[in-house]
């Protein structure tokens, strides 16, 4: 049982080692990286099928029983996140064939990328708070390496802010773990779920919960802790920022969801009210920040912030339908956002800049790219019948059901402003002519462009599929939400698995 849980972690690490030993041959390492990502996807799908058919799957590494050993556990949410991580990994590894040159390959892009994927999958699968911390650090170290790969001054500048604020969050997380262990004597999440609920000093538990909220809040870039994100995400290479944009903040959101559905649920009138305010402000500040920007990836970066607000909104409302919305939004957002960053990469290759006022003419020069941009852009803004529409529809309906009129209004208004930003990118980069009169064209030298297009098409097709046939995806999200709200299955799977 435990192998099916361990494989989505093992495959990226084994691939990382293989790729590192091959780093002198850029072509081979890129291909091995892609093959490893595909293998990871297969393993993730197996895990998903297992979870979908038998419910929560838990396993103990090394044969030590829970709550003492290293627990890996996959409920529906974890399984969905692992699959979507693997999908992003495949898309970005494919894109990397067309972006990562010999120099970046030699510096270890592919190995770091695989370690990052392993870290993200580990964070989704672990059943132990301290291991979550360790996986966060695995992710963090590899993302540091990816962020400064190449070492341009802007990258260093962005990395300083990214590193500084993420290290602060790490330390808050660690302090929270220390205090929680001191109070409860356990760090196994299933065990904590029972112990925290029965703890006599609920005020102390809420205090510790707030410490975790701030730590995860920095990771998931919610208001007012998001400043590192728009300061750094537009600086590294596109194959790097796409995977960052797709996955990293979502690990924070996942941790928030996990902590505030499984462990800290005894005083929701405090914790979840704070989350609701945070969600509202995150949506608004993110989208307003995006409206003020004029660089392709900086607009998208601020939109990540604004979209994180939607996911936190679902968690804050804490009703079954709202959690369905959150889970669905996570999935939709990862696909769409990674895709938009990849498209911005192709656009920069063809126009030579990311500054929207300096570029133009992409619609005439590359109509296919323009069409491919419209799919995720409309989806992000929430046009039916694309995936974003269903995600927003469920969340707005959930807020109306919960009589949260104001936040529903905010969510709708933010959707409208999202359209404004997407229109700006469309009008400036695609529609208007290039101000200097040059026709966008990819330079002949350098890696081929087709893998980039293939990755974008792959993600765009997924967006359309989720949009046209939302039924099964909503059903999966519903199972996930049910499991989140009644944590008995999770607890029994972990603690009952010891016999």
């Amino acid at each position: 049982m435990s192998w099916i849980l361990a494989l989505p972690l093992l495959i990226p690490f084994v691939t990382a080692i293989a790729v590192f030993l091959l780093s002198n041959s850029p072509k081979m390492s890129a291909r091995v990286s892609l093959a490893g990502s595909l293998a990871g996807l297969v393993a993730a799908l197996f895990l998903f099928a297992e979870v979908a058919s038998t419910g929560v799957v838990a396993g103990q590494m090394g044969g030590w029983p829970a709550p003492f050993g290293i627990t890996l556990v996959a409920d529906m949410l974890s399984a969905i996140m692992v699959v979507i991580t693997a999908i992003t990994a495949v898309a970005v590894a494919l894109y990397a064939l067309g972006e990562i040159g010999a120099e970046q390959s030699r510096l270890g892009y592919h190995a770091l990328f695989q370690v990052l994927i392993g870290g993200v999958s580990g964070a989704f699968l672990t059943g132990d708070l301290f291991n979550l911390y360790v996986w966060f650090e695995v992710m963090l170290i590899s993302s540091f390496g990816l962020l400064i790969l190449g070492g341009r001054p802007e990258q260093i500048d962005g990395a300083v802010k990214y590193v500084a604020l993420n290290l602060v969050s790490t330390i808050l997380f660690l302090s929270g773990i220390g205090l929680l262990y001191g109070e409860t004597g356990t760090l196994n999440m299933a065990d904590l779920s029972r112990v925290v609920a029965e703890h006599p000093d609920q005020g102390m538990m809420t205090l510790i919960a707030l410490l975790f909220m701030i730590a995860f809040g920095v990771k998931s870039a919610v208001f007012p802790l998001f400043f590192w994100l728009p300061a750094s995400y537009h600086t590294p290479g596109f194959a790097v920022s796409a995977v960052f944009a797709g996955l990293l903040t979502k690990v924070g959101v996942y941790s928030l969801i996990r902590a505030f559905t499984l462990i800290f649920v005894s005083q929701p009138e405090v914790t979840h009210t704070i989350l609701l305010w945070v969600a509202g402000f995150t949506m608004v500040t993110g989208v307003l920040g995006a409206a003020a920007q004029s660089e392709f990836r900086r607009i998208l970066s601020f939109h990540i912030v604004s979209q994180i607000g939607y996911m936190v909104l679902g968690l804050a409302l804490f009703t079954p339908l709202a959690l369905v919305g959150s889970v669905f939004y996570l999935v939709h957002h990862i696909i769409v956002k990674a895709n938009l960053f990849l498209i911005s990469g192709i656009s920069q290759r063809m126009t030579g800049s990311g500054e929207l006022y300096r570029i133009g003419g992409l619609y005439a020069a590359a109509p296919l790219l323009a069409a491919l941009f419209l799919i995720p852009a409309f989806s992000l803004a929430g046009f039916p019948p694309l995936s974003g529409f269903w995600a927003k529809y469920v969340l707005v309906k959930a807020s109306l059901d919960a009589d949260a009129w104001i936040i529903a209004g905010v969510a709708l208004l933010v959707g409208l402003l999202t359209i404004y930003s997407m229109t700006k990118i469309w009008a400036e980069a695609f529609w208007k002519d290039d101000p200097s009169g040059r026709i966008p064209k990819a330079p002949q030298d350098g890696p081929p462009l087709w893998p980039c297009y293939a990755a974008v098409v792959f993600l765009a097709v997924l967006t359309i599929c989720v949009g046209l046939v939302p039924g099964p995806f909503l059903a999966f999200a519903e199972t996930a939400a049910t499991q989140l709200l009644s944590s008995d299955a999770y607890i029994n799977a972990v603690l009952g698995a010891q016999e």
Partner: protein
């Protein structure tokens, strides 16, 4: 023993926050290192202090013979120290690179990735 450690952690955190409020990146990092050690001490103290009884299993036995110190927080702290070591080694190299690339360690002057709007105006 615990109150003493609590005061120590408090003092370290206070000093660390004072350092972290500085604009100088290097002082910020020193503050961060200090506060991370405060966090490690917190974990260590959270496992309750049992002085003079190391958690060692004598030869031939399967379990410790008497009450021993809690080994788990020590393992956690060790892991945290190792991870912290790696992160701060990276952060210090980054600070060095930042000084070379940007010519300053003053964080308010680091605006290369986020240029001020007025500088772009003609």
């Amino acid at each position: 023993m615990e109150p003493l450690l609590a005061i120590l952690v408090g003092a370290m955190t206070a000093a660390a926050i004072y350092l972290m409020l500085d604009r100088n990146l290097l002082r910020f990092l020193f503050g961060l290192i200090l506060i991370s050690n405060a966090a490690n001490l917190t974990i260590f103290a959270a496992g309750r202090l049992t002085p003079g009884k190391p958690p060692l299993v004598p030869e031939g036995a399967d379990a410790p013979l008497s009450l021993v110190a809690n080994a788990l927080p020590q393992a956690l702290v060790l892991t945290a120290i190792v991870i912290g070591f790696g992160l701060f080694a990276f952060a210090l190299v980054l600070a060095l690179r930042a000084y070379e690339a940007l010519g300053t360690l003053d964080t308010t002057e680091m605006r290369l990735a986020e240029p001020r709007e007025d500088r772009d105006a003609p």
